[in-house]
Symmetry: C2
Subunit: 465 residues, 2 copies
Amino acid sequence: MTEEQTDIAPEPESEDEDAYVLSPRTISSILYAVEVNDRSRLVELLEPLHPADIADLLEQLNAFDRMRLIRLYGNEFDGEILTELDEGIREEVIGILNPKVLADAVRELDSDDVVDLLEDLEDPQRDAILDVLDDPDRIAVEQSLTYPEYSAGRLMQREVVMAPEHWNVGEAIDYMRNNDDLPSQFYHIILVDPRLKPVGKVALGKIMSSRRSVRLQDIADESFHVIPVTRYEGDVAYAFNQYHLISAPVVDENDRLVGVITIDDAMMVLDEEHAEDMLRLAGVGEESSLSDTVMETTRQRFPWLAVNLVTAVLASLVIAQFETAIAQITALAVLMPIVASMGGNAGTQALTVAVRALATRDLTGSNALRVIRREIAVGLVNGAAFAVIMGIVGLVWFGSLDLGLVIAAAMVINLVVAGLAGIGIPIVLEKAGVDPALASGAFVTTVTDVVGFFAFLGLAVVVLL
Amino acid sequence: MTEEQTDIAPEPESEDEDAYVLSPRTISSILYAVEVNDRSRLVELLEPLHPADIADLLEQLNAFDRMRLIRLYGNEFDGEILTELDEGIREEVIGILNPKVLADAVRELDSDDVVDLLEDLEDPQRDAILDVLDDPDRIAVEQSLTYPEYSAGRLMQREVVMAPEHWNVGEAIDYMRNNDDLPSQFYHIILVDPRLKPVGKVALGKIMSSRRSVRLQDIADESFHVIPVTRYEGDVAYAFNQYHLISAPVVDENDRLVGVITIDDAMMVLDEEHAEDMLRLAGVGEESSLSDTVMETTRQRFPWLAVNLVTAVLASLVIAQFETAIAQITALAVLMPIVASMGGNAGTQALTVAVRALATRDLTGSNALRVIRREIAVGLVNGAAFAVIMGIVGLVWFGSLDLGLVIAAAMVINLVVAGLAGIGIPIVLEKAGVDPALASGAFVTTVTDVVGFFAFLGLAVVVLL
């Protein structure tokens, strides 16, 4: 069977790691063109690049080179570059662009991209951009901005291709041929009833491969999802990923069609949500970016470090209760960080699994109890294994069987508590409406530190003194 | 301006959190139907559900209920449910399904879904499934399995809609109307030269809105990305996200078109890659799932805990060098975990930012030095802030200015080292071809523990004794 064939097949190319990164040589050439003020060379070098790559390049330059590049690039600057830039840098770049170039750049964009651009700008910059738009575009953008931040309404594009539910393929094709104002990207026609309520969608591929007389209803997709305009964008991304949607109609509170969301926007949101979860778990501001300044970065990280300081001091207060014991048996000071550290790691493992499972809706009321029981059992098994190992280490290192037994017992206790806290705390926070990724880390580490030190030092006092 | 409007706009609905989760009541009804062996009720309850939701439901049940549900559901069981199941459970479910039901389920699937299904199965199950396929499908699947695991070749579907580059819109539409074998989902027509090399792609929407006489070349997409068949799937997902691709042609080593990848597959890969990064960072096996057994989970987590034990013992060896000092000043034992803990947290912050930036290709050779400098500066600033705070705590708590100065100095040193290790270690690992998410955590914590204890206790010996 193919098992063998698979084994001898070549590994995916190792150079792939850099497949989508600008080569250092290209970057040097670009910087050199900027250095010597060679505009035609700069344009020649940037011309083949995708706006997303030019945005990445700008993010990687220091502020001075960035300014010089943008000034030299002049009116070649494309609106799409702006939408691809990190928020922090975007504001800076808009400030550098000369107003005429900015106006041209923005006018090229779709309304949902303009919305994306405006969301994070301060009022004066926002007004300046709105002013350059034509009336219909400006009204569309202003309308979108009335929807809550991070809602489907902000994400959707307002240009929708729709058809009455009773049309056939021929009518749909004629309509599209005669419509000059179709959106640049669309993959389905939304079927609507007379009150503009979406009742189905038809894939363009189906229309292309059907005779003109076929009714659109008869080739509509089997599964059909409608998204309320106020739905949180993270839930929208989840639905696209879960149901393999390519596009989905968005409706207002009266079930009327108001826009459409396509999978590329949903993919972007999914990516952002993941990054946020990961950064929040590590106690880093979720909006952090590599181009932030030292002071911005410091300010993002300080709060979590401050929280950690409080929990660390709490743990120290526990240790302080056992100062006499430590003075008599200094081995306790040597070994106690091991118990706390193992608990912290086991807790983080359970916590990360729980946060991920909550985000993917895999951890729900119906299996929470079973998963909690599993975590406790895992804590017991791993606790027992490391109890044996540490018991032997304690015995061999310090020549005391009792000390070995004490650290072994503390290890079991702390790993069980770590499993329980790691899974239980995020579940409780989620129930309370707090993002489990944001707050769980601090709680879990506090629990494992305090329990770890208390169990080890407390048992030591009972057994050894 | 709209700023005010935004502020008064309603928040995204709060019930959204559960928007895509099966209600506990539905789950109870389903379980009850299984309990009382009511097949028609079970079918009625499952019928409106998407296969992805049924798969989630199966994952949340315990093994006994799962088996009873599948047996009762019988030949209603849909092949798509299999492709949506977690790998661990999938094998179990395939074992439960009766061979005829399994054969029907598999025959419904597209070839790329069958490949996805077979990848993780053991040989006997694999052969059983291959046997039920028709010859052309079986050959297509076996061919796909010859591509390396996690390559574009495994991800792509082999059904491609292509057209000679010289065709016009009318010819393309006629071809599609007369072709009974079009894939169920497609969004572009790939233009190929006579040697089957892809030279462009045309969005279906563009074809629909153009006159029959328009040449396909003239309405082809501006940006066009071709993916080598051996490219790593994570890089494919990156390209889709970076360049907002909807579909992209896949070519073999002779640049001939062999398949096409669509964004929904890329989105799934992106989601998996994220989960892997997150779970690896926490030292959890990246294939872990909520439905794993206690022993599987224990086995996944044990290795990282073992690594952590070694690093914790290393840190203890550092402490052991200062046993005499600790016996004289027990305050050292009380305060030392604070320095180590703060360093560990600051290191994890820098590490997470670095791992994320490496994954998104935002951290490259051209800005690495600047980012490293920034992390050191952040360590200095946060270190100074917490030095002052801890200095005061040390002074007030233990009444010793010298002790306050010692912990303050150790704090600065450890936070600077944490920043340096947090950013430097993943960069070095990436250069060495090791996944930075996998190994960095252990290295960074070792560094911050060892440096934290050594700086604090070492300075204490010099200053206080």
